[in-house]
Symmetry: C2
Subunit: 675 residues, 2 copies
């Protein structure tokens, strides 16, 4: 541990002295930071491997993030391509396998700075949708980046609703080709990553037409740029969609197709095929492809969403121990801002949230692996539950973790507004997750559709999947807590979340049923209940997060110190949730006025407890300084020195005197005689 | 109206055809849009004048915002200087007075694109702090931009807590000079706008030292750059603090002073003076300067915070009527997304919030004017109440309006993530307001200090200022509503907000008192209650917003259609607030379970009502297309066409082939033989 920390300090700075205000926080840790790091990594040997890989990356100047905050979108894109090509060479040299742990560790450090992001989805879609013959042709080329592909589904005027997509692929039996067209402006493919300036190929989703009849959405392999000179292929118009809130490393693009002809063999034909005579042939169910969507969401939580919040917590909590502001006790030195209850109330629930979603993402991943094995054996029973869970948890994870990053950013005051803090880019990147891989409201309503269905099954006495078994309840009665410490009992708060989830879902279902019974059309009634249905999906997902965190605690029975500190976080997460949505818990009298006050007091007490271990708890995430890339959040706590050094390098300090000469001098010379 | 709208359509586009999906929304307005615009402007003649000025600005190519989203920070700064200098010439030519309405209308269009922002504060601080003699010297130069000044208070390590500032000004009687120094890195002035690359002068706040004794913070006029060649003056180190989340037009800067000598006359001496022999002389109270801080906050709400939310609502609501997504009714065409309850639940409360804060900001402005008149007569009685109100409302306005902009942005799905939508820059700019002009948590605790003081006064039978008169209550009993329509009675919901404010404040005070009685030191007890004290300030401010909105409705008694639509918004604002913070209202049984359900139903019903007038209600804000600068939100609703046209202009589509030649070609040529 010691040597790694020393390593951190030298990575992008020559300073070795740790700010004493931060140093002292580490001396009182109630648990072994290294042990918790190992747990988060999945074992000490994995920590070791990760650190080795990260050290390799960080010692290579091509991978430096040093000037990232000063770059234009064009420069970020070029930098990303440079890094990606370099990484692929390094991986080849080191023998790191695609999908192996080493490359995953590389992505932990570089993910916001690489190109070819959607190329990965392109490869996955080939594996899911192509025949063996097609795979043999395309996959080896794609894996070595001899071609770069994109996944072109979303259109300018069409998002989640696939049936609404307008792009067409019409079979021409005479030439044995499909003719692809973009029939209107709103049908343009819009947003796919790597499409704007990189991709040579695209998996294009289009409505298949055979003899004038539509057969619905199908995937087609289309070459869009020349491999020789990168010029656009005939009939193809493509480009970059321009500046975005973040993701400057990605060339999101647009694509218009005008009578683009591709051979019949280029329809990805694992699940359906067009025969030479134009007949359509179905080849089994594409249900297994469901799993791709789910695993992408789970990986997104594990690799992006949770780590981003962890980084933001690391920066904000370390900075809050070196930032001093105002007197807490009259006459004393200005106090560390982390000692203010209001600052604890901002940051510590985010820290608990990061841990909570770490554990629930791990649970989801295990559940997915189980589901994946079962589908391989032809059993699809787990799929609906898995889909509903992954969707709901994707929503609250992206919602809470992006809100959490922004809370961390604001809690750093003015300096949190500087890009050099690292926080603005964490937020602008994180918040995109609320929209991509399934827009959050759309996903919530999918989860609530599952809940409503399960409530119906419960009514008719059918057994329910385990995560929703509570929907068979009649009532949960009242909360049994007698005094405020009872709210530190996981059974008590888990029950409260379960009760809330049950009540909200049942109320939505009752309202829905009532409207339909009054004669309202089902779709109108659904729309009229949709705010409450979305709430039901949120409440359900929240319950799962709390329940899985509590479950995870049980596995640390032999490590008292670790278990204790994680339990504080679990308690804090759960009580903060009740405190924040108190109405949900008191509205029907489940919590009494007195109990509501106990929750508040118990929650506020916990802030002071968790505060003591706050720095060790973020140190355990083990982000190197180079990875954080934050002037505020480095391991040594020398925030002001670093802000100043970094600011001096800004291009804004290297603009020539032309602005003065052109605009200001003619004004200022009028003052010369008067001063 | 018609001609203005035609004007809008041609301003930055040649299209005249309004998207029929948007057009139809305007045909069913329940009120006169033009009349509501006049009301918001303060009269028909003001609307006329504003439109004339805006048309002048928008027809001048120097003021074009066309390429704003493609510019680097350096380009934005240069563009801002160019525009500002051009505007000052135009103002001189037109005879527009500083502080007059014409320049205010110019700022409505250009505020995010001008330089010399803090120069305005510099001028205000001169007027507040300088003697008549000093004013006569500096003011004429500053008003004509012959010098540009900044206001250098905040330091790298010190924000709101003025006593903590470290910069020193030591009087040297021998030379009759002050010697200014930055004693440490954390003492560097950091953040002042216009400081980084523009300002020739700075009002520097420093600890005054006379004969080794500190006299606290005082303001000093310091020349920092040469008027002749813009080089830094001897002993001065200054520069730009680098990239930020937004405000690229502003050159926020840093400033280090090393033995910088200024003449004794350069201490701004309206309220205290140093005599030639080094004696300190106080010259009356600086209390009136309190007012500057207050008026800056009020103007910020009126000129920035509320208009930004209005713009975001305009963009998101117009777009939500042209965006179609999924089937609402099976077999129908894809539905306008504004017809989904979940979309209404996102956007319409933001629309109501924009109107609510428009009216409360107007109230605050009137209250300020009254307070200002009284202080001129030597009466300072209103100041504490005015300060507490302005602080609390600044907080909730910046909190709610920045959250509101972000909700609008997310509600536009993927396209809201494109800078071309105009929404990301509205958010990144808006959210800064939570930190500047008083960090929000700090301000809340100032307001709560006032509330606690008033509760104490109430206990001892003293009369209270009108906005807090409710703190004399004993109890509010229970809510009297019998059925859901009772919640459309402003008396019912205003009472609910008043009750909540009272309960939260009283509970915080009781807890505080209890802790002190148990022997806890006052400052510790305050800290232990600060989360709840901040909540009390929020609840109080919320009550004021609702109450003032209700009061404003009463002034439209003779205009039934306007009054009706504004009442819908007021109801929606109030009920959305209860719905969102339900716990606050049900926790003590003020609302029963049944009543809580009534609030929810009444609130959801209102969404469908306000939805009908949503487009006319944003049209009434009367932002021109050029002002919105949004590909999604233009008056004609041609969102997709415009997104495509704007994207094609992006610099990302004009990068040369070097990246392909350097990085990609060596890879892709490996595929040539295989495809």
């Amino acid at each position: 541990m010691a040597s790694w920390n020393a390593n951190k300090n030298t990575q992008n700075s020559t300073r070795q002295i740790v700010n004493p205000d931060l140093d002292i926080e580490r001396k009182t840790a109630s648990f072994s930071v290294e042990r918790l790091t190992n747990i988060l990594d999945g074992g000490a040997e994995k920590t070791q491997m990760r650190r080795t890989v990260e050290a390799m990356i960080q010692s290579d100047p091509v991978f430096s993030l040093e000037n990232q905050y000063f770059m234009s979108q064009n420069e970020r894109y070029e930098d990303a391509v440079r890094k990606s090509v370099h990484l692929s060479k390094m991986a080849a040299k080191m023998g790191w396998a695609t999908g192996g742990p080493e490359l995953a560790y590389c992505h932990r450090v570089l993910s916001a700075n690489l190109a070819f992001n959607v190329h990965v989805v392109f490869v996955k879609s080939l594996m899911g949708l192509a025949t063996d013959e097609q795979l043999a042709k395309w996959l080896p080329l794609a894996e070595k980046f001899y071609i770069v592909g994109t996944y072109a589904q979303t259109e300018l005027g069409h998002g989640t609703y696939l049936r609404g997509l307008e792009t067409t692929a019409t079979f021409d039996a005479a030439t044995q080709e499909f003719v692809l067209n973009t029939p209107s402006i709103s049908a343009m493919k819009w947003w796919p990553g790597d499409l704007g300036r990189t991709a040579t190929h695209a998996v294009v989703f289009a409505q298949l037409y055979l003899n004038g009849k539509s057969y619905g959405m199908h995937p087609f392999m289309v070459q869009i740029r020349s491999l020789r000179d990168h010029s656009l292929e005939p009939g193809v118009t493509a480009g970059d969609i321009g500046p975005k809130m973040s993701f400057e490393n990605v060339d999101n693009g647009f694509l218009l197709l005008k009578n683009v002809r591709i051979p019949r063999e280029n329809m990805l034909a694992k699940f359906s095929q067009v025969l030479p005579d134009g007949r359509y042939m179905k080849k089994g169910s594409a249900q297994i492809n469901y799993l791709t969507m789910i695993v992408v969401r789970v990986l997104m939580l594990q690799n992006e969403v949770v780590p981003n919040l962890m980084k933001a917590c690391t920066i904000a909590i370390r900075y809050s121990t070196v930032r001093r502001q105002s007197e807490l006790k009259p006459g004393d030195r200005e106090a560390k801002i982390l000692d203010y209850q209001t600052q604890q109330q901002k940051l510590l629930p985010q820290l608990a949230t990061a841990y909570a979603f770490y554990f629930v993402a791990k649970y989801l991943r295990d559940f997915f692996d189980r589901g994946y094995m079962e589908t391989k054996e032809g059993k699809f029973d787990l799929l609906p539950e898995l889909h509903a869970l992954a969707a709901g948890i994707k929503v609250i994870a992206t919602d809470y973790c992006s809100a959490g990053v922004e809370i961390c950013r604001k809690a750093c005051g003015g300096h949190g507004y500087s890009l050099l803090s690292g926080l603005p880019s964490l937020f602008t990147r994180q918040v995109a997750g609320c929209t991509y891989e399934g827009e959050n409201t759309v996903l919530l309503l999918q989860t609530s559709r599952f809940l409503i269905k399960c409530l119906g099954m419960a009514q008719s006495g059918q057994p329910l999947p385990s995560s929703v078994a509570y929907l068979t309840s009649e009532s949960f009665g009242k909360c049994q807590a007698q005094e405020k410490r009872d709210f530190l009992n996981p059974d008590v708060y888990t029950e409260a979340y379960r009760h809330r989830a049950f009540r909200v879902a049942r109320n939505a279902a009752v309202k829905l049923q009532g409207l339909v019974q009054q004669g309202m059309a089902q779709h109108d009634a659904w729309n009229r209940c949709s705010v409450q249905l979305a709430q039901a999906a949120m409440a359900h997902s929240q319950y799962i997060v709390v329940e899985k965190f509590v479950k995870a605690l049980e596995t640390f029975g032999k490590e008292a110190a670790i278990q204790r500190v994680l339990k504080h976080l679990c308690d804090l997460y759960a009580l903060h949730g009740i405190f924040s949505d108190l109405g949900d818990f008191v509205q029907d009298g489940y919590l009494s006025t007195k109990q509501a006050e106990m929750v508040t007091e118990s929650y506020l007490d916990l802030l002071a407890v968790v505060r003591k271990d706050a720095v060790p708890l973020v140190d355990a995430f083990d982000f190197s300084d180079a990875n954080l890339n934050s002037a505020l959040g480095c391991y040594d706590g020398q925030a002001y020195q670093r802000l100043y050094e970094w600011a001096k390098k800004s291009p804004t300090n290297h603009q020539d005197n032309r602005i003065f000469e052109t605009y200001l001098k003619p004004l200022f010379r009028n003052a010369l005689s008067k001063l």
